[in-house]
Protein backbone atom coordinates (compact mmCIF):
# COMPACT_ATOMS: atom_id res chain seq x y z
CA UNK A 1 0.00 0.00 0.00
CA UNK A 2 1.92 2.92 -1.28
CA UNK A 3 -0.39 5.90 -1.69
CA UNK A 4 0.47 9.40 -2.81
CA UNK A 5 2.98 11.05 -0.47
CA UNK A 6 1.42 13.37 2.08
CA UNK A 7 -2.02 11.83 1.80
CA UNK A 8 -3.68 9.30 4.07
CA UNK A 9 -4.63 5.91 2.60
CA UNK A 10 -7.53 6.48 0.19
CA UNK A 11 -7.35 10.28 0.59
CA UNK A 12 -9.75 10.75 3.55
CA UNK A 13 -8.37 10.95 7.08
CA UNK A 14 -9.15 8.08 9.45
CA UNK A 15 -11.60 10.06 11.63
CA UNK A 16 -13.66 10.95 8.58
CA UNK A 17 -13.66 7.35 7.43
CA UNK A 18 -14.84 6.22 10.85
CA UNK A 19 -17.66 8.75 10.70
CA UNK A 20 -18.67 7.48 7.25
CA UNK A 21 -18.42 3.84 8.36
CA UNK A 22 -20.73 4.57 11.28
CA UNK A 23 -23.25 6.03 8.83
CA UNK A 24 -22.84 2.98 6.58
CA UNK A 25 -23.39 0.57 9.48
CA UNK A 26 -26.52 2.41 10.47
CA UNK A 27 -27.70 2.40 6.85
CA UNK A 28 -27.17 -1.36 6.63
CA UNK A 29 -29.05 -1.84 9.89
CA UNK A 30 -32.06 0.10 8.53
CA UNK A 31 -32.27 -0.92 4.86
CA UNK A 32 -33.40 1.90 2.60
CA UNK A 33 -33.27 4.59 5.30
CA UNK A 34 -31.31 7.73 4.42
CA UNK A 35 -28.65 8.33 7.06
CA UNK A 36 -27.26 11.87 7.25
CA UNK A 37 -23.47 12.14 7.29
CA UNK A 38 -20.93 14.95 7.38
CA UNK A 39 -20.04 14.95 3.71
CA UNK A 40 -16.56 16.35 3.03
CA UNK A 41 -15.23 18.54 0.29
CA UNK A 42 -13.63 16.26 -2.28
CA UNK A 43 -11.16 17.22 -5.00
CA UNK A 44 -13.93 17.08 -7.60
CA UNK A 45 -17.16 19.00 -8.12
CA UNK A 46 -20.51 17.91 -6.70
CA UNK A 47 -22.34 15.83 -9.25
CA UNK A 48 -19.20 13.93 -10.22
CA UNK A 49 -19.65 11.27 -7.61
CA UNK A 50 -18.40 12.87 -4.38
CA UNK A 51 -20.80 10.74 -2.34
CA UNK A 52 -19.75 7.51 -4.02
CA UNK A 53 -16.06 8.37 -3.69
CA UNK A 54 -16.40 9.01 0.05
CA UNK A 55 -18.22 5.72 0.58
CA UNK A 56 -15.61 3.89 -1.50
CA UNK A 57 -12.78 5.55 0.43
CA UNK A 58 -14.36 4.46 3.71
CA UNK A 59 -14.75 0.81 2.74
CA UNK A 60 -11.51 0.27 0.78
CA UNK A 61 -8.77 -1.86 2.30
CA UNK A 62 -5.26 -2.42 0.94
CA UNK A 63 -6.18 -5.79 -0.60
CA UNK A 64 -9.31 -4.58 -2.36
CA UNK A 65 -9.62 -4.58 -6.12
CA UNK A 66 -11.58 -1.61 -7.44
CA UNK A 67 -13.69 -1.30 -10.57
CA UNK A 68 -15.38 1.98 -11.54
CA UNK A 69 -18.07 2.29 -14.17
CA UNK A 70 -19.96 5.24 -15.57
CA UNK A 71 -23.10 4.35 -17.55
CA UNK A 72 -21.81 0.77 -17.59
CA UNK A 73 -18.50 1.70 -19.24
CA UNK A 74 -15.05 1.40 -17.68
CA UNK A 75 -13.45 3.79 -20.15
CA UNK A 76 -15.42 7.02 -19.70
CA UNK A 77 -13.80 10.12 -18.20
CA UNK A 78 -15.39 9.87 -14.79
CA UNK A 79 -14.64 6.16 -14.41
CA UNK A 80 -11.03 6.55 -15.54
CA UNK A 81 -10.44 9.52 -13.23
CA UNK A 82 -11.92 7.92 -10.12
CA UNK A 83 -10.00 4.68 -10.76
CA UNK A 84 -6.78 6.70 -11.12
CA UNK A 85 -7.65 8.70 -7.99
CA UNK A 86 -7.78 5.59 -5.83
CA UNK A 87 -4.78 3.99 -7.53
CA UNK A 88 -2.80 7.10 -6.62
CA UNK A 89 -4.12 7.73 -3.12
CA UNK A 90 -4.53 4.12 -1.94
CA UNK A 91 -2.11 2.27 -4.17
CA UNK A 92 -4.66 -0.51 -4.62
CA UNK A 93 -5.20 -2.76 -7.61
CA UNK A 94 -7.89 -1.80 -10.11
CA UNK A 95 -9.66 -3.83 -12.72
CA UNK A 96 -12.33 -3.62 -15.37
CA UNK A 97 -13.47 -7.22 -14.80
CA UNK A 98 -16.68 -7.35 -12.77
CA UNK A 99 -15.97 -10.82 -11.43
CA UNK A 100 -12.51 -9.85 -10.11
CA UNK A 101 -13.54 -6.65 -8.35
CA UNK A 102 -14.26 -6.54 -4.63
CA UNK A 103 -15.56 -2.96 -4.71
CA UNK A 104 -17.42 -1.56 -7.72
CA UNK A 105 -18.27 2.11 -7.81
CA UNK A 106 -20.99 2.87 -10.32
CA UNK A 107 -22.90 5.69 -11.85
CA UNK A 108 -26.20 4.82 -13.57
CA UNK A 109 -25.79 1.04 -14.04
CA UNK A 110 -25.57 -2.30 -12.28
CA UNK A 111 -23.26 -4.77 -14.08
CA UNK A 112 -25.03 -7.39 -16.18
CA UNK A 113 -23.42 -10.46 -14.65
CA UNK A 114 -24.70 -11.61 -11.26
CA UNK A 115 -22.57 -10.23 -8.45
CA UNK A 116 -21.29 -12.57 -5.78
CA UNK A 117 -21.07 -12.56 -2.01
CA UNK A 118 -18.39 -10.30 -0.60
CA UNK A 119 -18.64 -7.74 -3.38
CA UNK A 120 -19.68 -4.18 -2.60
CA UNK A 121 -21.51 -2.06 -5.14
CA UNK A 122 -21.22 1.70 -4.45
CA UNK A 123 -23.73 3.98 -6.18
CA UNK A 124 -23.23 7.67 -6.85
CA UNK A 125 -26.49 9.40 -5.99
CA UNK A 126 -27.46 12.93 -7.05
CA UNK A 127 -30.85 13.18 -5.28
CA UNK A 128 -31.46 10.55 -2.58
CA UNK A 129 -35.00 11.60 -1.71
CA UNK A 130 -37.57 9.75 -3.88
CA UNK A 131 -40.33 12.10 -2.72
CA UNK A 132 -38.39 15.29 -3.45
CA UNK A 133 -40.25 16.41 -6.55
CA UNK A 134 -43.60 15.60 -4.98
CA UNK A 135 -42.98 17.21 -1.61
CA UNK A 136 -40.29 19.90 -1.48
CA UNK A 137 -40.10 20.18 2.32
CA UNK A 138 -37.43 17.95 3.85
CA UNK A 139 -39.18 18.07 7.26
CA UNK A 140 -42.32 16.70 5.61
CA UNK A 141 -40.61 13.99 3.53
CA UNK A 142 -38.85 12.73 6.65
CA UNK A 143 -42.17 12.53 8.44
CA UNK A 144 -43.67 10.64 5.48
CA UNK A 145 -40.80 8.13 5.61
CA UNK A 146 -41.08 7.80 9.39
CA UNK A 147 -44.79 7.02 9.16
CA UNK A 148 -44.41 4.95 5.96
CA UNK A 149 -46.92 7.19 4.21
CA UNK A 150 -46.17 6.47 0.60
CA UNK A 151 -49.48 7.30 -1.05
CA UNK A 152 -47.80 10.29 -2.65
CA UNK A 153 -45.31 8.10 -4.51
CA UNK A 154 -48.24 6.16 -5.89
CA UNK A 155 -49.81 9.44 -7.04
CA UNK A 156 -46.76 10.02 -9.22
CA UNK A 157 -47.15 6.61 -10.85
CA UNK A 158 -50.88 7.27 -11.24
CA UNK A 159 -50.08 10.50 -13.08
CA UNK A 160 -47.72 8.62 -15.36
CA UNK A 161 -50.39 6.16 -16.38
CA UNK A 162 -53.07 8.83 -16.80
CA UNK A 163 -50.76 10.82 -19.08
CA UNK A 164 -48.95 8.12 -21.02
CA UNK A 165 -51.09 5.03 -20.63
CA UNK A 166 -48.29 3.24 -18.81
CA UNK A 167 -45.78 3.98 -16.06
CA UNK A 168 -43.40 6.19 -18.02
CA UNK A 169 -40.72 6.52 -15.34
CA UNK A 170 -37.69 4.79 -16.85
CA UNK A 171 -34.92 5.65 -14.42
CA UNK A 172 -34.74 6.42 -10.69
CA UNK A 173 -37.77 4.16 -10.48
CA UNK A 174 -38.84 4.01 -6.81
CA UNK A 175 -38.49 0.77 -4.89
CA UNK A 176 -39.70 -0.47 -1.50
CA UNK A 177 -36.88 -2.05 0.49
CA UNK A 178 -37.80 -5.03 2.68
CA UNK A 179 -41.40 -3.82 2.71
CA UNK A 180 -40.56 -0.66 4.62
CA UNK A 181 -38.64 2.32 3.26
CA UNK A 182 -39.24 3.64 -0.22
CA UNK A 183 -35.89 4.35 -1.84
CA UNK A 184 -34.54 6.03 -4.94
CA UNK A 185 -32.21 3.52 -6.62
CA UNK A 186 -30.20 6.50 -8.01
CA UNK A 187 -30.60 7.26 -11.72
CA UNK A 188 -30.08 3.66 -12.81
CA UNK A 189 -32.49 2.57 -15.56
CA UNK A 190 -35.45 0.61 -14.21
CA UNK A 191 -33.99 -2.25 -16.26
CA UNK A 192 -31.57 -2.74 -13.35
CA UNK A 193 -34.20 -2.67 -10.58
CA UNK A 194 -34.74 -6.47 -10.57
CA UNK A 195 -30.97 -6.94 -10.06
CA UNK A 196 -31.18 -5.11 -6.73
CA UNK A 197 -33.62 -7.64 -5.35
CA UNK A 198 -32.07 -10.39 -3.27
CA UNK A 199 -28.58 -9.51 -4.52
CA UNK A 200 -25.69 -11.41 -2.88
CA UNK A 201 -23.62 -8.20 -2.96
CA UNK A 202 -23.82 -5.33 -0.49
CA UNK A 203 -25.23 -2.19 -2.14
CA UNK A 204 -24.22 1.20 -0.72
CA UNK A 205 -25.51 4.57 -1.90
CA UNK A 206 -23.66 7.84 -1.32
CA UNK A 207 -25.04 11.32 -2.00
CA UNK A 208 -22.27 13.87 -1.41
CA UNK A 209 -24.06 17.13 -2.01
CA UNK A 210 -27.20 15.99 -0.19
CA UNK A 211 -25.14 14.40 2.61
CA UNK A 212 -26.97 11.09 2.78
CA UNK A 213 -25.91 7.45 2.80
CA UNK A 214 -28.28 4.53 2.42
CA UNK A 215 -27.86 0.82 1.84
CA UNK A 216 -29.39 -2.43 0.72
CA UNK A 217 -27.77 -5.34 2.61
CA UNK A 218 -27.18 -8.64 0.77
CA UNK A 219 -30.22 -10.83 0.17
CA UNK A 220 -32.72 -8.06 0.85
CA UNK A 221 -36.12 -7.83 -0.78
CA UNK A 222 -36.31 -4.87 -3.19
CA UNK A 223 -39.66 -4.39 -4.90
CA UNK A 224 -40.41 -1.84 -7.60
CA UNK A 225 -43.61 0.08 -6.87
CA UNK A 226 -46.49 -0.45 -9.27
CA UNK A 227 -50.24 -1.00 -9.58
CA UNK A 228 -51.96 -4.38 -9.58
CA UNK A 229 -53.34 -3.73 -13.05
CA UNK A 230 -50.17 -1.97 -14.28
CA UNK A 231 -47.37 -4.17 -12.97
CA UNK A 232 -43.72 -3.14 -13.08
CA UNK A 233 -41.98 -4.02 -16.34
CA UNK A 234 -38.32 -3.53 -17.19
CA UNK A 235 -37.36 -2.15 -20.59
CA UNK A 236 -37.04 -4.70 -23.37
CA UNK A 237 -34.88 -4.31 -26.44
CA UNK A 238 -35.95 -5.47 -29.87
CA UNK A 239 -32.51 -6.47 -31.12
CA UNK A 240 -29.39 -8.09 -29.63
CA UNK A 241 -26.08 -6.28 -29.00
CA UNK A 242 -24.49 -5.46 -32.39
CA UNK A 243 -21.03 -6.45 -31.16
CA UNK A 244 -21.49 -9.53 -28.98
CA UNK A 245 -25.02 -10.63 -29.84
CA UNK A 246 -26.18 -10.57 -26.20
CA UNK A 247 -29.91 -10.45 -25.54
CA UNK A 248 -31.64 -9.45 -22.34
CA UNK A 249 -29.01 -6.80 -21.56
CA UNK A 250 -29.23 -3.02 -21.44
CA UNK A 251 -28.18 -1.46 -24.74
CA UNK A 252 -26.76 1.94 -25.67
CA UNK A 253 -27.59 3.58 -28.96
CA UNK A 254 -24.49 4.55 -30.96
CA UNK A 255 -24.91 6.89 -33.92
CA UNK A 256 -22.63 5.69 -36.75
CA UNK A 257 -22.71 8.47 -39.31
CA UNK A 258 -24.72 11.51 -40.39
CA UNK A 259 -27.09 9.47 -42.54
CA UNK A 260 -29.05 7.94 -39.71
CA UNK A 261 -27.14 4.70 -39.30
CA UNK A 262 -27.01 3.55 -35.73
CA UNK A 263 -26.27 0.46 -33.74
CA UNK A 264 -27.19 -0.81 -30.31
CA UNK A 265 -24.40 -2.20 -28.15
CA UNK A 266 -24.08 -3.44 -24.56
CA UNK A 267 -23.88 -0.57 -22.10
CA UNK A 268 -21.80 -2.85 -19.84
CA UNK A 269 -18.44 -2.80 -21.67
CA UNK A 270 -16.89 -5.55 -19.54
CA UNK A 271 -19.80 -7.86 -20.22
CA UNK A 272 -19.52 -7.21 -23.96
CA UNK A 273 -15.72 -7.73 -24.05
CA UNK A 274 -15.92 -10.92 -22.03
CA UNK A 275 -18.51 -12.32 -24.40
CA UNK A 276 -16.54 -11.37 -27.49
CA UNK A 277 -13.40 -12.95 -26.01
CA UNK A 278 -15.44 -16.12 -25.59
CA UNK A 279 -16.28 -16.05 -29.30
CA UNK A 280 -19.76 -14.49 -29.33
CA UNK A 281 -20.37 -12.28 -32.34
CA UNK A 282 -23.06 -9.70 -33.11
CA UNK A 283 -24.26 -8.41 -36.49
CA UNK A 284 -21.90 -5.42 -36.64
CA UNK A 285 -18.76 -7.10 -35.28
CA UNK A 286 -15.66 -6.26 -37.34
CA UNK A 287 -17.35 -3.51 -39.37
Amino acid sequence: MTGAIGYNFAYLDEQTKRMIRRAILKAIAIPGYQVPFASREMPMPYGWGTGGVQVTAAVLGPRDVLKVIDQGADDTTNAVSIRAFFRNTAGIATTTRTSEATVIQTRHRIPEGRLHEGQILVFQVPIPEPLRFLEPRETETRRLHALAEYGLMQVKLYEDISRHGHIATTYAYPVAVEGRYVMDPSPTPKFDNPKMDNSPALQLFGAGRERRIYAVPPYTNVRSLDFEDHPFRAQEFAEPCALCGAIGVYLDEVVMDDRGRRMFVCSDTDHCETRRAAGHRGGAFGL
Binding site: R143, L147, E149, G151, L152, Q154, V155, Y158, E159, I161, S162, R163, D226, F227, E228, D229, H230
Partner: protein, 258 residues
Protein backbone atom coordinates in the same frame (compact mmCIF):
# COMPACT_ATOMS: atom_id res chain seq x y z
CA UNK B 1 -77.40 6.45 15.99
CA UNK B 2 -75.88 6.71 19.39
CA UNK B 3 -76.17 9.34 22.09
CA UNK B 4 -72.43 9.61 22.49
CA UNK B 5 -71.30 12.68 20.54
CA UNK B 6 -68.95 12.15 17.58
CA UNK B 7 -66.81 15.03 18.67
CA UNK B 8 -66.62 16.43 22.14
CA UNK B 9 -64.62 19.56 22.85
CA UNK B 10 -63.86 20.76 26.36
CA UNK B 11 -62.22 24.01 27.40
CA UNK B 12 -60.06 24.31 24.30
CA UNK B 13 -57.61 27.17 24.75
CA UNK B 14 -54.76 28.38 22.60
CA UNK B 15 -52.62 31.48 23.01
CA UNK B 16 -50.22 33.08 20.57
CA UNK B 17 -47.83 34.65 23.05
CA UNK B 18 -49.93 37.10 25.02
CA UNK B 19 -52.72 37.20 22.45
CA UNK B 20 -55.60 34.77 22.62
CA UNK B 21 -56.24 32.43 19.70
CA UNK B 22 -59.23 30.84 21.28
CA UNK B 23 -60.29 30.62 24.89
CA UNK B 24 -62.21 27.93 26.74
CA UNK B 25 -64.27 26.66 23.81
CA UNK B 26 -66.54 23.71 24.52
CA UNK B 27 -69.15 21.99 22.38
CA UNK B 28 -70.48 18.59 21.31
CA UNK B 29 -71.11 17.51 17.76
CA UNK B 30 -73.30 14.52 16.87
CA UNK B 31 -73.38 12.42 13.71
CA UNK B 32 -74.95 14.23 10.79
CA UNK B 33 -74.96 17.56 12.58
CA UNK B 34 -73.74 20.79 11.00
CA UNK B 35 -72.28 23.39 13.31
CA UNK B 36 -71.47 26.85 11.98
CA UNK B 37 -68.82 28.92 13.69
CA UNK B 38 -69.28 32.59 12.83
CA UNK B 39 -67.51 35.74 13.80
CA UNK B 40 -65.46 38.53 12.31
CA UNK B 41 -61.90 38.12 11.05
CA UNK B 42 -59.46 37.36 13.83
CA UNK B 43 -62.12 35.98 16.16
CA UNK B 44 -60.35 32.61 16.45
CA UNK B 45 -62.49 30.59 14.05
CA UNK B 46 -59.65 29.16 12.00
CA UNK B 47 -57.51 28.57 15.10
CA UNK B 48 -60.37 26.50 16.50
CA UNK B 49 -60.61 24.49 13.29
CA UNK B 50 -56.88 23.81 13.22
CA UNK B 51 -57.00 22.72 16.86
CA UNK B 52 -59.76 20.27 16.00
CA UNK B 53 -57.73 18.93 13.09
CA UNK B 54 -54.73 18.48 15.43
CA UNK B 55 -52.69 20.83 13.30
CA UNK B 56 -52.11 22.98 16.36
CA UNK B 57 -51.56 21.79 19.91
CA UNK B 58 -53.84 23.45 22.50
CA UNK B 59 -52.49 25.07 25.66
CA UNK B 60 -55.42 23.61 27.58
CA UNK B 61 -58.53 21.56 27.02
CA UNK B 62 -59.14 18.42 25.05
CA UNK B 63 -60.87 17.06 21.99
CA UNK B 64 -62.45 13.63 22.21
CA UNK B 65 -63.59 11.67 19.19
CA UNK B 66 -65.77 8.59 18.90
CA UNK B 67 -63.90 6.08 16.74
CA UNK B 68 -65.64 3.71 14.32
CA UNK B 69 -65.42 0.94 16.91
CA UNK B 70 -67.44 3.11 19.31
CA UNK B 71 -64.57 3.82 21.70
CA UNK B 72 -64.07 7.47 22.65
CA UNK B 73 -60.47 8.66 22.48
CA UNK B 74 -58.74 11.85 23.51
CA UNK B 75 -57.09 12.88 20.24
CA UNK B 76 -54.02 14.31 21.96
CA UNK B 77 -53.19 10.85 23.32
CA UNK B 78 -53.10 9.23 19.87
CA UNK B 79 -49.68 8.97 18.30
CA UNK B 80 -48.93 10.89 15.13
CA UNK B 81 -49.40 7.91 12.84
CA UNK B 82 -52.86 7.23 14.25
CA UNK B 83 -53.79 10.91 14.03
CA UNK B 84 -52.77 11.10 10.40
CA UNK B 85 -54.60 7.90 9.59
CA UNK B 86 -57.75 9.42 11.12
CA UNK B 87 -57.17 12.61 9.15
CA UNK B 88 -57.17 10.79 5.84
CA UNK B 89 -59.90 8.26 6.50
CA UNK B 90 -62.34 9.70 9.03
CA UNK B 91 -61.98 13.42 8.47
CA UNK B 92 -61.97 15.90 5.68
CA UNK B 93 -60.58 19.42 5.71
CA UNK B 94 -61.85 21.83 3.08
CA UNK B 95 -59.53 24.83 2.96
CA UNK B 96 -60.51 28.37 2.23
CA UNK B 97 -57.92 28.58 -0.54
CA UNK B 98 -58.28 25.54 -2.78
CA UNK B 99 -54.62 25.83 -3.80
CA UNK B 100 -53.71 24.88 -0.19
CA UNK B 101 -55.95 21.84 -0.22
CA UNK B 102 -55.12 20.52 -3.70
CA UNK B 103 -51.96 19.49 -5.48
CA UNK B 104 -52.07 22.02 -8.26
CA UNK B 105 -49.69 20.21 -10.60
CA UNK B 106 -51.41 16.84 -10.22
CA UNK B 107 -54.42 15.91 -12.36
CA UNK B 108 -57.96 16.03 -10.98
CA UNK B 109 -58.03 12.23 -10.93
CA UNK B 110 -54.75 12.07 -9.00
CA UNK B 111 -56.03 14.64 -6.53
CA UNK B 112 -59.28 12.80 -5.99
CA UNK B 113 -57.58 9.40 -5.79
CA UNK B 114 -54.71 10.34 -3.48
CA UNK B 115 -56.46 9.33 -0.27
CA UNK B 116 -57.33 5.93 -1.69
CA UNK B 117 -53.70 5.36 -2.60
CA UNK B 118 -52.66 6.64 0.82
CA UNK B 119 -54.75 3.97 2.53
CA UNK B 120 -53.22 1.26 0.40
CA UNK B 121 -55.35 0.89 -2.72
CA UNK B 122 -53.11 -0.28 -5.55
CA UNK B 123 -55.45 -0.93 -8.44
CA UNK B 124 -55.27 1.84 -11.05
CA UNK B 125 -58.60 1.01 -12.65
CA UNK B 126 -60.47 1.03 -9.35
CA UNK B 127 -58.83 4.26 -8.17
CA UNK B 128 -59.66 5.95 -11.44
CA UNK B 129 -63.21 4.62 -11.36
CA UNK B 130 -63.78 5.97 -7.86
CA UNK B 131 -62.20 9.32 -8.77
CA UNK B 132 -64.35 9.66 -11.86
CA UNK B 133 -67.44 8.73 -9.89
CA UNK B 134 -66.70 11.44 -7.33
CA UNK B 135 -66.00 14.05 -9.98
CA UNK B 136 -69.46 13.35 -11.33
CA UNK B 137 -70.99 13.64 -7.88
CA UNK B 138 -69.45 17.08 -7.37
CA UNK B 139 -70.60 18.07 -10.87
CA UNK B 140 -67.22 18.14 -12.57
CA UNK B 141 -67.27 16.64 -16.06
CA UNK B 142 -65.41 13.30 -15.69
CA UNK B 143 -63.91 13.97 -19.13
CA UNK B 144 -61.68 16.52 -17.40
CA UNK B 145 -60.20 13.90 -15.06
CA UNK B 146 -56.71 14.27 -16.53
CA UNK B 147 -56.60 18.06 -16.37
CA UNK B 148 -54.81 19.77 -13.52
CA UNK B 149 -56.77 22.08 -11.20
CA UNK B 150 -54.79 24.95 -12.68
CA UNK B 151 -57.23 24.93 -15.58
CA UNK B 152 -60.25 24.85 -13.25
CA UNK B 153 -62.37 27.79 -12.11
CA UNK B 154 -62.53 28.73 -8.43
CA UNK B 155 -65.83 26.92 -7.93
CA UNK B 156 -64.57 23.77 -9.65
CA UNK B 157 -61.44 23.76 -7.52
CA UNK B 158 -63.54 23.96 -4.39
CA UNK B 159 -65.71 21.09 -5.63
CA UNK B 160 -62.63 19.05 -6.50
CA UNK B 161 -61.40 19.65 -2.97
CA UNK B 162 -64.67 18.26 -1.68
CA UNK B 163 -64.37 15.17 -3.90
CA UNK B 164 -60.79 14.63 -2.77
CA UNK B 165 -61.87 14.73 0.87
CA UNK B 166 -65.06 12.70 0.64
CA UNK B 167 -63.70 9.82 -1.44
CA UNK B 168 -62.80 7.85 1.69
CA UNK B 169 -66.25 8.56 3.14
CA UNK B 170 -65.19 10.49 6.21
CA UNK B 171 -67.58 11.07 9.09
CA UNK B 172 -66.42 14.54 10.07
CA UNK B 173 -65.61 17.38 7.69
CA UNK B 174 -64.04 20.66 8.74
CA UNK B 175 -64.67 23.54 6.36
CA UNK B 176 -62.86 26.85 6.49
CA UNK B 177 -64.80 29.52 4.59
CA UNK B 178 -65.38 27.20 1.61
CA UNK B 179 -67.46 29.74 -0.31
CA UNK B 180 -65.52 32.95 0.23
CA UNK B 181 -64.07 34.30 -2.97
CA UNK B 182 -66.74 32.67 -5.13
CA UNK B 183 -69.39 34.72 -6.88
CA UNK B 184 -72.92 34.27 -5.61
CA UNK B 185 -74.33 31.93 -8.25
CA UNK B 186 -71.32 29.59 -7.94
CA UNK B 187 -71.59 29.88 -4.18
CA UNK B 188 -75.25 28.85 -4.30
CA UNK B 189 -74.47 25.74 -6.34
CA UNK B 190 -71.67 24.75 -4.00
CA UNK B 191 -73.93 25.15 -0.98
CA UNK B 192 -76.59 23.09 -2.70
CA UNK B 193 -74.05 20.38 -3.34
CA UNK B 194 -72.80 20.37 0.24
CA UNK B 195 -76.36 20.25 1.54
CA UNK B 196 -77.12 17.26 -0.67
CA UNK B 197 -73.99 15.41 0.45
CA UNK B 198 -74.70 16.10 4.12
CA UNK B 199 -78.10 14.42 3.95
CA UNK B 200 -76.89 11.65 1.65
CA UNK B 201 -73.80 10.70 3.65
CA UNK B 202 -74.86 11.79 7.13
CA UNK B 203 -71.73 13.93 7.49
CA UNK B 204 -71.00 15.89 10.61
CA UNK B 205 -69.60 19.27 9.65
CA UNK B 206 -67.94 22.14 11.47
CA UNK B 207 -68.09 25.06 9.07
CA UNK B 208 -66.29 28.29 9.74
CA UNK B 209 -67.74 31.28 7.96
CA UNK B 210 -68.27 34.98 8.33
CA UNK B 211 -71.24 34.79 5.99
CA UNK B 212 -74.43 34.49 8.01
CA UNK B 213 -76.44 33.45 4.97
CA UNK B 214 -74.18 30.45 4.47
CA UNK B 215 -74.58 29.57 8.13
CA UNK B 216 -78.36 29.82 7.92
CA UNK B 217 -78.54 27.67 4.82
CA UNK B 218 -76.26 24.87 5.97
CA UNK B 219 -76.11 24.63 9.70
CA UNK B 220 -78.32 23.25 12.42
CA UNK B 221 -76.55 24.97 15.24
CA UNK B 222 -74.43 28.04 15.47
CA UNK B 223 -71.62 29.32 17.61
CA UNK B 224 -70.71 33.02 17.58
CA UNK B 225 -67.11 33.85 18.42
CA UNK B 226 -65.40 37.09 19.23
CA UNK B 227 -61.80 37.62 20.34
CA UNK B 228 -61.36 33.90 20.81
CA UNK B 229 -64.36 33.45 23.08
CA UNK B 230 -67.71 31.89 22.35
CA UNK B 231 -70.29 34.55 23.12
CA UNK B 232 -73.44 32.82 21.96
CA UNK B 233 -74.56 29.36 20.89
CA UNK B 234 -77.89 27.97 19.87
CA UNK B 235 -80.03 26.69 17.04
CA UNK B 236 -79.21 28.61 13.90
CA UNK B 237 -82.68 30.05 13.42
CA UNK B 238 -82.91 31.16 17.02
CA UNK B 239 -79.50 32.86 16.96
CA UNK B 240 -80.17 34.66 13.70
CA UNK B 241 -83.78 35.63 14.35
CA UNK B 242 -83.54 36.40 18.04
CA UNK B 243 -79.92 37.13 18.89
CA UNK B 244 -79.24 37.57 22.60
CA UNK B 245 -75.70 38.89 22.87
CA UNK B 246 -75.22 42.53 21.83
CA UNK B 247 -72.39 41.52 19.52
CA UNK B 248 -74.58 38.96 17.74
CA UNK B 249 -77.29 41.58 17.38
CA UNK B 250 -74.75 43.88 15.77
CA UNK B 251 -73.53 41.09 13.49
CA UNK B 252 -77.05 40.17 12.37
CA UNK B 253 -78.09 43.76 11.79
CA UNK B 254 -74.91 44.42 9.78
CA UNK B 255 -75.92 42.07 6.99
CA UNK B 256 -76.71 43.97 3.82
CA UNK B 257 -79.99 43.09 2.23
CA UNK B 258 -79.94 42.77 -1.52
Amino acid sequence: MTNVPLLSVEGLTMRYGTRTGCADVSFDLHDGEVLAVVGESGSGKTTLLRLLAQELAPDAGRVRYRMRDGGVRDLATLDEAAQRLLARTEWGYIRQDATDGLRMSVSAGGNAGERLMAIGMRHYGQIRGAASDWLRRVEIDPARIDETPQSFSGGMRQRLQIARNLITEPRLVLMDEPTSGLDVSVQARLLDLVRGLVTELGLAIVIVTHDLAVARLLSHRMMVMRRGCVIETGLTDRVLDDPEAPYTQLLVSSVLAA
